[in-house]
């Protein structure tokens, strides 16, 4: 793999490292609030990578939904439950060791598989969006080709919404 040292590549590596760094940070801090904040870093970094990949709409959606909605929702959840909660220091129990070894092994296997596979080189002048801007192109695809899954997903959202309300509301008999 010939290494090209140009602006986008530098941006990619910076973003990638920050994503991984935020991920590791999330696992290493003790306070739950900080964990939730550091996950926000992961989401933002991932959004940057989407932009680099030319998926601007996905990147914006990522920021809106993940950073704007899910992270904030989690903050609320933390506040509503036990906002002072702290993660215990990591202990090498059998379970944790197994999980760690397994995760590392899985990562090694995946990396080995990725390295050993010859990936097709992207054509430089690939015209994914068909001359439109990316959101327009996505809209066209979504409402033409994926109209039915789109409707289904909206149904999932409705069900999730109603279900969340029913689950979260306080019930009389529990008092």
């Amino acid at each position: 793999m010939n290494f090209v040292w140009n602006g986008p590549m530098i941006a990619f590596y910076v973003l990638a490292l920050s994503v991984l760094g935020a991920g590791i940070l999330m696992l290493s801090v003790r306070k739950v609030v900080y964990m939730a904040l550091s996950i926000g870093g992961v989401f933002i970094g991932a959004a940057g990578i989407y932009i680099l990949l030319g998926a601007e709409f996905v990147a914006v959606a990522q920021i809106l939904i993940y950073v704007g909605a899910i992270t904030i929702l989690m903050m609320f959840a933390i506040m509503l439950t036990n906002h002072k909660a702290e993660e215990e220091p990591f202990r090498w129990t059998v379970r944790n060791a197994t999980a760690a070894v397994g995760s590392v092994l899985l990562a090694l296997v995946l990396l080995a598989v990725i390295r050993s596979t010859t990936w097709p080189v992207q054509s430089a002048n690939l015209n994914l969006n068909g001359g439109n801007s990316n959101p327009v192109a996505i809209g066209l695809v979504m409402f033409k080709q994926y109209a039915f899954p789109f409707e289904l997903v909206s149904l999932v959202l409705i069900v999730g919404l109603v279900g969340a309300v029913i689950l979260a509301q306080e019930r009389k008999e529990e008092e």
């Binding site: 379970r95 197994t98 999980a99 092994l105 899985l106 296997v109 050993s116």
Partner: protein, 634 residues
């Protein structure tokens, strides 16, 4: 007409189903009425079949359809009409009709009146179906069904502990015999390849009845004796007679119908039905004759001293069944059946009359009765007829049939059996008139019970009168007056002489027999009517013999000692094996599962993450297998 013989058993079955549908709250009149009418129709059918056969001796027939095919063999079901079957049909349906009528009065106000009639109808159906069975398997099925009905009816008053015990006893003791019968049937099937009578007889008489491990002659004897064991169980022959006296715990109409006239006669019928098999083996016939003779004497001796009116008659039944078996055993086929025919009437009569007495005074103890003749004129006279018939006094029915058997015993050269029969005849006359005098003559011994004694209603007296008439004239069916019609009728089943012999009348012997009977009656009269001889003193002088008789030769105790003890021993061994060996294995298996469960339950921590780690680890292992074993990833 013969092809409609199936109606005879089916009509009571219809009655049974109908009563079953009516339920337990049905009105007594309806229940009894329907039963009596259907049984009477059945009687008419039987009579028609009987006369049809008499007019045309060659119209006997078998009507069957294929039931099962087992390889080369096949099993049929259907019905068969022979002269013997026709006679049995008439006897069973006639007595049943009268007993049904009598029960209307006897069982009046019983809580389970409709159930009683259900059982009776089922019994009559089973009995008639047994009679017309065309093969041994069908016979065995109905053989067990009559046993079941007998059990149900003996235990009809199941809330009395004695009745429940007696029912159980009768079931178990007859079952001992049934096992023998069943083995016999299986052996016959294995050796002849068929359950059909004709095929079996064909093989037996031509010596083709063979299995690899036994000679044909021995097999014939063996199966004959096994069949006789079954018959002995049902017909209460020594030593399987112990259930019949206890069966008197059942309602008296049941005793009259099942334990006097019909079911206990099924054993005699079976021997008669299988007669060609017995004739093919002289040994089996000799066994039948001797067991019959011993039973006749034993029953008569025990009956001498019993205090319970029904038990006396029960032992009398045993004794008379012994006579029938003896008659069959000495080759007098027709006479054995003739005695069955007359006995059915006079013994049913004696039981019903005893039932009438019991109904009136509410006790069964002879020494609490006495002087009833004044209050129960009809019962007294009918009982007298039955007693005279049983004793064998000329010209009552019992005289003709019993004398025929004794005559055949003498003429066929069985001198010992002849003397046994005469002694038993003497005892018979004595004990039945002892009952008669104690019950109907002398002074009342228990005034309180006497006070409300009275004759039953017409439903009870009419059967008594009809039976009394039959007890008087039934013997005339086989006398010189009609050229011995009954024996010619019965012998028509097998013109080739396969089924025994008949003998001419022997007038000197008749005189001897009647004299013996009259002496017995006279002795009874001297002891119990005009007490010239003190019964107590006699009993004291012969105390050993008296106690032997009173305690039924201690046979129940011997049974208890041998059969029950052996049974308990075997049961103990089996129990030990079951409890400590089989159960041990089973418990070990259970313990294994339990231990496994206890061990594995610790994996159920309830921790989702632990589960996930394990699942994840499993996936990793699968991945490793995929990589290194299947290959192709790198």
């Amino acid at each position: 007409m013969v092809e409609y013989a199936w109606l005879a058993p089916v009509l009571p079955l219809v009655g049974y189903v109908f009563l079953l549908a009516l339920g337990r709250r049905a009105a007594e009149g309806l229940v009894a009425g329907v039963s009596v009418i259907l049984t009477f129709l059945s009687f008419l059918v039987s009579l028609a079949v009987f006369t049809a056969l008499g007019a045309h001796p060659d119209v006997t027939g078998t009507y069957t359809m294929r039931w099962l095919t087992l390889g080369a063999h096949s099993i049929d079901v259907g019905f068969q009409v022979t002269h013997l079957n026709a006679l049995m049909l008439v006897v069973v349906s006639a007595v049943s009709t009268l007993v049904f009528l009598f029960s209307k009065g006897y069982m009046h106000k019983d809580e389970r009146f409709p159930v009683f009639y259900q059982y009776l109808n089922l019994f009559v159906f089973s009995m008639m179906a047994l009679v017309v069975s065309p093969n041994l398997l069908q016979l065995y099925i109905f053989w067990e069904m009559v046993g079941l009905c007998s059990y149900l009816l003996i235990g009809f008053w199941y809330f009395k502990p004695e009745a429940a015990l007696a029912a159980k006893k009768s079931f178990i003791v007859t079952r001992l015999g049934d096992v023998g019968l069943f083995i016999g049937i299986i052996l016959l099937f294995l050796s002849s390849g068929s359950f059909d009578y004709s095929t079996v007889f064909q093989a037996a008489t031509t010596g083709h009845l063979g299995l690899s491990w036994i000679t044909p002659a021995d097999l014939t004897t063996l199966t004959g004796i096994l069949v006789f064991v079954g018959a002995a169980g049902k017909s209460a022959q020594f030593p399987l007679h112990v259930w019949l006296p206890d069966a008197m715990e059942g309602p008296t109409p049941v005793s009259a119908l099942i334990h006097a006239a019909t079911m206990v006669a099924a054993g005699v019928y079976l021997v008669a039905r299988m007669y060609p098999l017995f004739v093919a083996s002289g040994t089996a016939l000799t066994v039948v004759a001797w067991v019959g003779g011993i039973t006749a004497l034993l029953g008569a001796l025990i009956a001498l001293t019993q205090r319970d009116i029904k038990r006396v008659i029960a032992y009398s039944t045993i004794s008379q069944l012994g006579y029938m078996m003896m008659g069959l055993g000495v080759g007098a086929y027709a006479y054995g059946m003739f005695h069955l025919f007359t006995h059915a009437f006079f013994k049913a009569l004696l039981f019903l009359a005893a039932g009438s007495v019991i109904h009136a005074v509410d006790t069964q103890d002879l020494f609490e009765m006495g002087g009833l003749g004044k209050k129960m004129r009809i019962t007294q006279w009918t009982f007298l007829f039955g007693a005279l018939s049983l004793s064998g006094v000329f010209p009552w029915a019992g005289f003709w049939s019993k004398d025929s058997i004794i005559n055949a015993t003498l003429q066929s050269g069985h001198m010992t059996l002849f003397w046994i029969a005469e002694i038993a005849a003497f005892c018979t006359a004595f004990y039945i008139f002892r009952v008669y005098f104690l019950t109907f003559h002398g002074k009342p011994r228990d005034e309180s019970k006497m006070a409300h004694a009275h004759e039953g209603s017409w439903v009870m007296t009419v059967p008594l009168i009809i039976l009394a008439v039959m007890a008087f004239i039934a013997g005339l069916f086989n006398t010189g007056l009609n050229n011995f019609g009954l024996q010619r009728y019965l012998m028509a089943d097998s013109p080739t002489g396969l089924i025994g012999k008949v003998y001419p009348d022997n007038v000197p012997l008749m005189i001897i027999s009647v004299t013996v009977a009259l002496v017995g009656i006279g002795l009874a009269a001297l002891m119990y009517w005009k007490p010239v001889i003190s019964a107590e003193k006699l009993a004291r002088n012969l105390s050993g013999l008296y106690r032997l008789s009173f305690n039924k030769f201690y046979l129940d105790e011997i049974y208890y000692g041998v059969v029950v003890w052996t049974g308990k021993l075997i049961a103990g061994i089996v129990d030990f094996f079951d409890r400590y060996i089989l159960d041990l294995i089973v418990r070990m298996l259970g313990r294994l599962g339990y231990m496994g469960g206890v061990g594995l339950k610790y994996t159920q921590t309830g921790q989702v993450q632990t589960y996930s780690v394990i699942a994840f680890f499993g996936i990793m292992i699968l991945l490793a297998i995929a990589m290194f074993h299947v290959g192709g990833v790198f």
